[in-house]
């Protein structure tokens, strides 16, 4: 092998082993990289015990109940639900039927006391008229 080919082989081999190492490391870290767990994972006992964590899901339609600055709502992944209570200011995009990520602790009564509520929006961008049309179409299909 010429020195040049040797160097190319070394680079390719190095990159390949590096990729393998990264894949293995990321696989091992998998659950720690996730920002939040879903309500189903909480129900399955996969949530960390005795410390703060985040739950992500949709805010259930019709579940938001306000009392002064305290808000009660339900976070759902359509399979399981978790009631959440939070006192503080909510982001503008926090709405029923939309995504949210809540951070806090799970109480013994099964209620999640949140210290922070973040809104998670989707990757779709459209003008209000188009959004209206999409909503109408979805309603028509549901009937």
């Amino acid at each position: 092998m010429k020195p040049r080919q040797k160097r190319i082989a070394l680079i390719v081999g190095g990159l390949a082993s590096l990729t393998l190492a990264a894949v293995l490391a990321l696989n091992a870290l998998d659950s720690n990289i996730a920002l939040y767990v879903t309500p189903s994972e909480v129900a399955a006992g996969k949530a960390p015990q005795g410390k703060a964590f985040r739950i992500g899901g949709l805010v259930k339609e019709g579940s938001i109940k306000r009392q002064d600055l305290t808000v009660n709502f339900i976070v759902t992944d359509t399979a399981k639900e978790i009631p959440v209570t939070y006192t503080g200011i909510l982001p503008d995009l926090f709405k029923e039927g939309k995504g949210a990520v809540v951070q806090g602790r799970l109480g013994t009564d099964g209620k999640f006391a949140a210290t922070e509520v973040l809104a998670k929006h989707d990757e779709n961008y459209m003008p209000p008229e188009a959004k209206h049309a999409v909503d109408q179409a979805q309603k028509a299909q549901a009937k």
Binding site: L35, L93, V101, K120, D122, M126, P127, A130
Partner: protein
């Protein structure tokens, strides 16, 4: 010239390939870069003006996020650029390492500051977007964290190169760092798919139609083109300065500056 001797071995391959290898020598690349720079600046200006005009005046308000979504027209092109420049930088670094071509290392060195700028811009506009929409400037989710690591990789590359006096050795050390960091690029790109993140998924995908109104998409693509042209123009300007600095002892540089 030592370079000519090295490339004699390639003559059997193809004549056009040699034509390209000619530009691996700083002396012939310097004027070529000089001729290309004004064109890239002009293209950057045209695409930038068109892109900004569409972004601000033509693209409709978003149904969910109102006017605030318009930061996407800077945020997404900057993020794409920060990842793409790293790939290009790593490509030049690998080429320099494998073939010992001198301009390759200089190209990698010239690209790093622009890449760092794009990564910083992506993080900064992201924070400004995250606060009103998500309710947080920053969260340690996989997308944001891996982009921050990309920013540090650029800074590390620049620091490492600057710390070694001998340019050829600096190129080699930098190249290895750049190649190691390449693993991070697919992690950034696929992070929103692989893990639960606060950051939303990709709007533009190779496998499905973009989930974005047509005019918004045009604005974003024009801005991305403007960022491309700007990055090329700046990198070429920088590589010319690096060539002059490294070759300052040669005859041709003395003549070039007269």
């Amino acid at each position: 010239m030592g370079d000519h001797g090295r490339f004699k071995g390639c003559i059997g391959v193809s004549q056009s390939l040699i034509q390209w290898f000619r530009y691996a020598s700083p002396q012939s690349f310097y004027p070529l870069a000089g001729r290309m720079i004004p064109w890239f600046w002009a293209a950057a200006a045209v695409f930038g003006v068109a892109g900004l005009w569409i972004s601000f005046f033509v693209a409709p308000t978003d149904a969910q996020q109102g006017e605030g979504y318009r930061i996407i027209f800077v945020h997404v092109p900057a993020s794409w650029m920060s990842m793409f420049i790293y790939l290009v930088m790593a490509f030049w670094a690998a080429l320099g390492l494998a073939l010992n071509t001198r301009v390759s290392g200089m190209m990698a060195q010239a690209l790093a500051p622009t890449g760092a700028l794009m990564a910083a811009l992506s993080l900064w506009t992201g924070a400004f977007w995250g606060k009103p929409m998500w309710g947080a400037w920053w969260v340690w989710d996989a997308r944001l964290t891996s982009e921050l690591i990309l920013f540090f990789l650029y800074l590390g590359f620049m620091a490492l190169q600057a710390a070694i006096d001998d340019p050829r050795r600096a190129d080699k050390a930098g190249a290895i760092l750049a190649l190691v960091g390449v693993v991070n690029i697919p992690i950034i790109y696929f992070s929103v798919k692989w893990w639960n993140t606060l950051h939303q998924g990709s709007t533009i995908n190779l496998t499905k139609a973009p989930s974005m109104a047509q005019t918004m998409l045009w604005g974003m693509l024009l801005m991305a083109l403007a960022f491309w042209m700007y990055s090329i123009a700046v990198a070429l300007t920088r590589v010319r300065a690096i060539i002059l600095e490294r070759e300052r002892h040669t005859e041709w540089v003395k003549h070039a500056l007269e």
